[in-house]
Symmetry: C2
């Protein structure tokens, strides 16, 4: 089966819908359940509520749990709240605990409480456990549906246990080994287990080199670790090395997506990622804070130019090059910023060190500055026929590019040092800072060499 | 074992190094091979070449292949070229074919040819196959070390086959089922296989709903599919549905990292992602092209202002607000750009459609523009005491923000339509475009209402 695009889903749906509205439950179920849960979810999302309500009534909680695990996470909350509470709580109970928790985190406390009270007890307990952990930590993305075996079991016994647990467990491809105090002591991949001799002890075939993450670890660090070691799952432990849960690679992929969108949006000066289905008002609310801050920074820039009004009155032509110089400063600053933020995110910073990055940027800025400076000097001279103006603009560009490049790298590094997420040092922010720097350099020099400019 | 940080690796290494330089091969091997390949790789990377050469001579090609699979991909080429060719070709043969190909793609044709000629034939053939595929396609990231079973095998036979193949295969957690013409007809997870009754036929227990990707598919689309369906591996097929290879989730995670860095760097106007270990000259080379283009766009902006020199001579104060207006235009444009690019990348565009995104941005721009416009009008009036100047700046800001926001969304959408990667429409680019737009609006209006401004 190929992945279905929007048209294909539309076509398939048209077949299914008739069955649905004619209340031909069997036909609907056979055709709908034929599909991969992801496609079921996409089709489900495209329906209006009247149809959705029908679907709830035609699927079992277990069947709909699969669908809900694949719907757009921004909308899952909306769907849960429109189901009748009993069905909703059953569906949540059937979902893997970590996905259920993601949804419950978006619901208001009372609703959550009511769901948990009518929910099957074991499921409720599992969910309550996970609800305790802070968002974006290992604890909040881990699942508690995992298989453990014991050092003193034989491989044959372990396999038998595994077959029993397989249908429930989130993954059975890494099996974690615990001692009598439930402390994590080893791991064995299913690959090694099926190769191993049946009567060997788990202790003899397991690997004691098990990489784990503390329950409080940030999800970005967990993702990094999973990536570095090419694992399919990571065990989560408390400070006494008790096994609390596991994080599977599919959860990590979602984390990576989320973090990437976040960094990207922040570089562009958007507080957090916007879905395209968001209303203009909400979008404006998200963007305005940044723009207003930048507006006042811009006013500050204006007031600086204001200081040089005398200079401007004498040599109005100076104004012509303001956007060019400010723009270049912003551009090179954004480039340096992006490099520095990536270096921090990918951990390269620890390898090469702050000072070497700053030095590198300074050198880069020098090269860029001198090349652009010479270029612009010639162009301005040829264009305006005023040699000193050319020199002034050229030297300003050179000086600006050097300072702006260093500033672009310095700001995120300082933020990182101050434990602020460097990604919030967005392009627009650094651009505006560099506007100010460039204006000061440009007009400062212009005022100093005024007598040369007036011929 | 916890993941090792730089200090820990340093400490461990100090123990190992003495053994190495004293030529105590056994001691070195036991301590070094104790570590996870990722940590081996990190330690290896931190050595200078004299030490690296020793390591090559103390490890078997098979052992070093594990190390090389985990080193920083930017440096793998450097390491391979410093080994003696025989060892290098053996190491490449021992690596999983797709990783070997990644490295060979960075080497010059002659070197590759010479490695392949001295390489074990089977390995060489596998690699030659993969080398044919275009970079960044499914073919280039797939591996050919996978397990296939046949519809007419029993579960017991399949398991036996699996145990035999397990050590070699890249993954055994999804087993793909082919017919006599080697066409992909089904898939079964190891999970389901170990639960199934031993004497059932594979045909009865396999799933025929197998999602596959065409060999020419772009790696970004493959990653999207793997993510949507939460797979651990995806089969790669030709146009006749013959199974050519598989792509495993760990390769996809690297792809996602790569794509995220790329989009991020492009938004900042860097041609492609720079490692922090890159020299200033190389870094400057990568950034200058953009900056020079932007420099000339800036000159164009300057020439536009030049057209308004008369206006400027009369009302020099106008210059004060150039950076503010141009800056705001750039900022809102970058925000809209980022949202549009993400909408394209995440496929949301297909869901909501171009027009609705543009309309959304227009509305957002209107709200942002009016709010900022009113704000700035008041501030300027209070500051300069010139009501008309306040109105002029305010209206310019409003008009600019609306146009700039729409432009920010429009540019990437047009590029997408023209099959150009929208991510190259970087922040700096859109910023400079919007500089021009804003200047035209600002000075155009100033000139029109000149008589009001001069009091």
């Amino acid at each position: 089966m190929e992945q279905l695009d929007v048209q294909e889903r539309k076509r398939i749906w048209d077949n299914i819908e008739s069955a649905l509205v004619d209340e031909q439950i069997d036909q609907f179920r056979t055709e709908f359940l034929e599909l991969h849960p992801y496609d079921q979810a996409k089709i489900f999302e495209e329906q209006q509520d009247s149809i959705r309500v029908l679907i709830y009534s035609y699927l079992s909680p277990e069947e709909f749990a699969d669908v809900l695990e694949h719907v757009d996470s921004d909308r899952a909350e909306e769907f849960v709240t429109e189901m009748n509470p009993m069905f909703a709580s059953q569906v949540l109970a059937e979902m893997s605990a970590d996905d259920a928790v993601d949804i419950l985190n978006d619901l208001d406390k009372n609703k959550v409480a009511s769901y948990l009270t009518i929910m099957d007890e074991d499921a409720a307990d599992e969910i309550k456990q996970l609800l305790h952990y802070e968002e974006k930590t290992a604890g909040s993305i881990m699942t508690t549906e995992f298989v453990v075996i014991h050092t003193n079991q034989t491989v044959k016994e372990a396999m038998r246990h595994l077959r029993k647990e397989a249908p429930e467990a989130e993954t059975i491809y890494y099996i974690y080994v615990v001692d009598v105090q439930k402390r994590l002591v080893g791991v064995i991949s299913l690959r090694d287990l099926i190769i191993a001799e049946g009567d060997f002890l788990v202790a003899d075939v397991m690997s004691e080199r098990v990489v784990s993450v503390p329950v409080g670890e940030g999800q970005e660090e967990v993702a990094q670790k999973m990536r570095d070691y090419d694992f399919l799952a990571l065990p989560v432990v408390d400070f006494q090395n008790h096994l609390l849960g596991i994080i599977t690679v599919d959860d990590i992929i979602d984390v990576m997506d989320e973090e990437a969108s976040e960094d990207y949006s922040k570089l562009a000066g958007i507080s957090d990622f916007e879905g395209s289905n968001m209303s203009p008002v909400t979008a404006a609310k998200k963007r305005l804070p940044w723009l207003v801050i930048l507006l006042f920074l811009g006013l500050f820039t204006a007031s600086i130019i204001g200081r040089f009004e005398a200079t401007l009155d004498q040599v109005a032509v100076l104004a012509i090059f303001i956007p060019l110089i400010a723009g270049m400063a912003g551009n090179t600053g954004t480039q340096a910023l992006a490099v520095a933020v990536r270096a921090i995110a990918t951990g390269e910073l620890d390898k090469v060190g702050k000072s070497s990055i700053i030095l590198r940027e300074a050198m880069t800025g020098l090269i860029i500055g001198v090349s652009c400076g010479i270029l612009i000097t010639m162009v301005v001279y040829l264009w305006k026929g005023n040699f000193y103006l050319g020199i002034l603009v050229g030297i300003s560009v050179t000086a600006t590019l050097i300072v702006a490049t260093v500033a672009g790298a310095l700001v995120p590094l300082i933020m990182h040092r101050l434990k602020i997420d460097p990604a919030v040092a967005s392009g627009p922010f650094i651009t505006t800072i560099n506007d100010i720097i460039s204006i000061l350099i440009y007009f400062g020099m212009a005022t100093a060499f005024m007598n040369l400019l007036i011929q």
